[in-house]
């Protein structure tokens, strides 16, 4: 063993050329606290309000953070912190309307929600003997209507949309005029205002069946017009994500193109396709204008989509405010209830989509 010279033990931190100045951990938190306090105090002087306080805090926070970071740390870190702060603020701004809407709907609608509300046909009844108007709160006719109308719209749109996307991805060659035309038309359809879809369905059925041709089916047609392009787009994206390798592997086994699409491509993409379809449904289930035009509104229970007006949740929410009954509060209340039910329905659809995506997702791939 060679005698090692005793190492010089340095006191204090070892100087490291790779270090730079650094703000303490949680500095961002402290700074935010400080800016909240500062702007709070500032606002006290001129009159406090919550929104102004939040906005001012955010601005003060960004400025403070930028200055401090560029003093203590370097330029790159200062920019990094600043941009991160901006992105966070943007995110918070984006969720404010969402949270606020949800909060309003839940707080106002929860009162109307009850077992009766979802199992009874609501409306007002006029008793000619006593001249009394009785109001029954209930949304059964609207729930059934919404489910039937969106259900039929889905039944129409999914096959058309899915087959179109299969054509575009599997059969249409990129430069071919037919697939170019289809893609173009789908893009145009995506931009159709929903009221136009409603007008289309309404006038179509008026031409076929004569005036006052309100029906659930006609509303479904209007919704399909809105839904088909969304479904085509979603399915197309998902089918394009399926690696080309898998198709080649299948062809190389002597499998026909049809079997390859049905047994390899679709199962591989099914999770995404189902999610896309669910989102498309969620998108049209809340449409008001086209349904209002094509299916009108009613307080009667109608489960026949081919005959007579049909009530739906969004239209119920709208009419509850626009054309309230004699008891205005009751009408408004059931409007909020309908709105909340609609939100719940959409949430349920999203949950189903997630579960299905989980169940079908290809397993074990790295």
């Amino acid at each position: 063993m060679t005698a090692l010279s005793p190492r010089t033990v340095e006191k204090g931190p070892v100087p490291n050329s790779l270090t730079t100045g650094q703000l303490p951990r949680f500095a961002e938190l402290y700074i935010f606290g400080a800016s909240a306090v500062v702007s709070g105090v500032l606002l006290m002087l001129i009159g406090f309000d919550v929104i102004g306080w939040l906005v001012l805090s955010a601005v003060v926070y960004l400025v403070l953070l930028g200055i401090l970071s560029s003093l203590v740390e370097n330029r790159r870190k200062a920019v990094d912190r600043l941009v991160r702060g901006l992105v966070t603020v943007a995110f918070l701004l984006a969720i404010i309307p969402l949270v606020s809407t949800l909060f309003t709907v839940v707080s106002k609608g929860i009162g109307a929600l009850s077992f009766q509300f979802i199992t009874q046909t609501g409306g007002s009844a006029f008793n000619p003997d006593t001249l009394e108007v009785t109001n029954t709160p209930g949304a059964l006719q609207a729930i059934v209507g919404t489910l039937i109308i969106t259900g039929i719209a889905t039944l129409i749109s999914v096959p058309i949309g899915l087959f179109t996307s299969i054509y575009l991805v599997e059969y249409g060659r990129p430069g071919q005029w037919l697939s170019r035309t289809v893609t173009f038309l789908v893009d145009v359809m995506t931009g159709i205002p929903s009221i136009v879809a409603g007008l289309f369905a309404f006038s179509l059925f008026t031409i076929i069946l004569g005036p006052k041709a309100f029906s659930g089916f006609s509303a479904s047609v209007a919704l399909s017009v809105l839904m088909i392009p969304t479904v085509v787009r979603a399915c197309e994206e998902m089918l394009r994500l399926v690696p080309h390798d898998l198709r080649e592997a299948s062809y190389a086994l002597g499998v026909s193109k049809f079997a390859t699409i049905v047994r390899i491509v679709l199962p591989t993409a099914i999770a995404g396709i189902v999610t896309g379809i669910m989102l498309a449904i969620a998108r049209v289930i809340g449409e008001t204008a086209p349904i209002f035009m094509a299916a009108s509104f009613t307080d009667n229970f109608n489960s026949n989509p081919f005959e007579g007006p049909m009530q739906t949740l969004p239209v119920m929410a709208y009419t509850g405010f626009a054309f309230p009954g004699t008891d205005i509060t009751a009408s408004n209340n059931s409007a909020w209830g309908a709105a909340l039910l609609l939100v719940i329905l959409v949430v349920i659809l999203n949950l189903i989509a997630r579960v299905i995506a989980k169940v079908f997702a290809p397993k074990g791939s790295r």
Partner: protein
């Protein structure tokens, strides 16, 4: 069941671009033939024309004849699906079907063609295929787990098992070992030597040692420059190609003195 492949004056095009020009070659049954050559010289392109897989690429087409045991692959009315049932293919990147278990992957070729197979028949074929691909011992306890959960080398052998389960006559392999470690590579080379008893095998490889270890005959492809078509330069017994080739380019390439 293995077949002779005769190619006569074959040109392969991607739309207007001539990728491979004037290839004539005869591949004997029950042999291993290696295709070697620099990148971009058209080995994969040519290989794919042997089971019409190039048709998957829009615009790709051929001129010339490919005759397998007397049947012209490109005669009018020939169904590419029938061709591919006889001429199987293994790709450079392992591509097991992610939605299927190991067992279903092996049986994929049969099931997708709607062959009805009983459970016990299926079990036998799975075992035979996986043993054939040297994979049985590693996966026999997890046949129902997804094929995507295997290692890269295991996935590649799974793909070989899948390809041989449809019992083709010819097996085309496009750089099957390029993503594998030396041990998996050796396993696959051993496998190729065994498969040779039953199949006609064509393998593309960038690995000279591999070509000399597994193949009986070697074809050297080369390209004169970018944008020029690839050509078959020399085709001979592997020992000849590697010891005294007739063409100077071949010698340069196999000895590593190439560009």
């Amino acid at each position: 069941m293995s077949k002779r492949i005769e190619v006569k004056d074959l040109n392969v095009y991607y739309s207007d671009f001539l990728a491979v020009e004037g290839v004539s070659i005869t591949i004997e049954p029950r042999t291993v033939t290696a295709f070697i050559g620099p990148s971009g010289c058209g080995k994969s392109t040519f290989l794919r024309t042997l089971n019409r897989m190039h048709e998957v690429i829009p615009g790709a087409h051929v001129k010339g004849e490919v005759i397998i045991d007397g049947n012209d692959l490109y005669a009018p009315g020939v169904d590419p699906v029938m061709v591919r049932r006889q001429v199987g293919m293994v790709f450079q990147r392992a591509n097991p079907f992610p939605t299927m278990s190991i067992r279903d992957n092996v049986l994929a070729g049969l099931k997708l063609n709607n062959k009805r197979i009983s459970k016990s028949e299926g079990d036998d074929m799975v075992e035979k295929g996986l043993r054939g691909a040297n994979l049985w011992n590693e996966v026999k306890d997890r046949l129902n787990l997804p094929g995507g959960g295997l290692s890269g080398g295991q996935q590649q052998r799974l793909c070989i098992a899948r390809a041989i389960t449809v019992s083709p006559d010819v097996l085309l392999m496009d750089e099957p070992c390029s993503a594998l470690d030396p041990i998996s590579t050796l396993a696959i080379e051993d496998l190729i030597k065994e498969l040779k008893e039953e199949y006609t095998i064509v393998i593309v490889t960038h690995n000279m040692q591999q070509a000399s270890r597994v193949s009986d005959r070697t074809a050297f492809f080369n390209i004169a420059g970018t944008g020029k078509p690839g050509k078959l330069i020399e085709y001979d017994d592997t020992t000849t190609i590697f010891s005294n080739p007739t063409v100077k380019d071949t010698e340069d390439y196999v000895s590593g003195r190439f560009g």
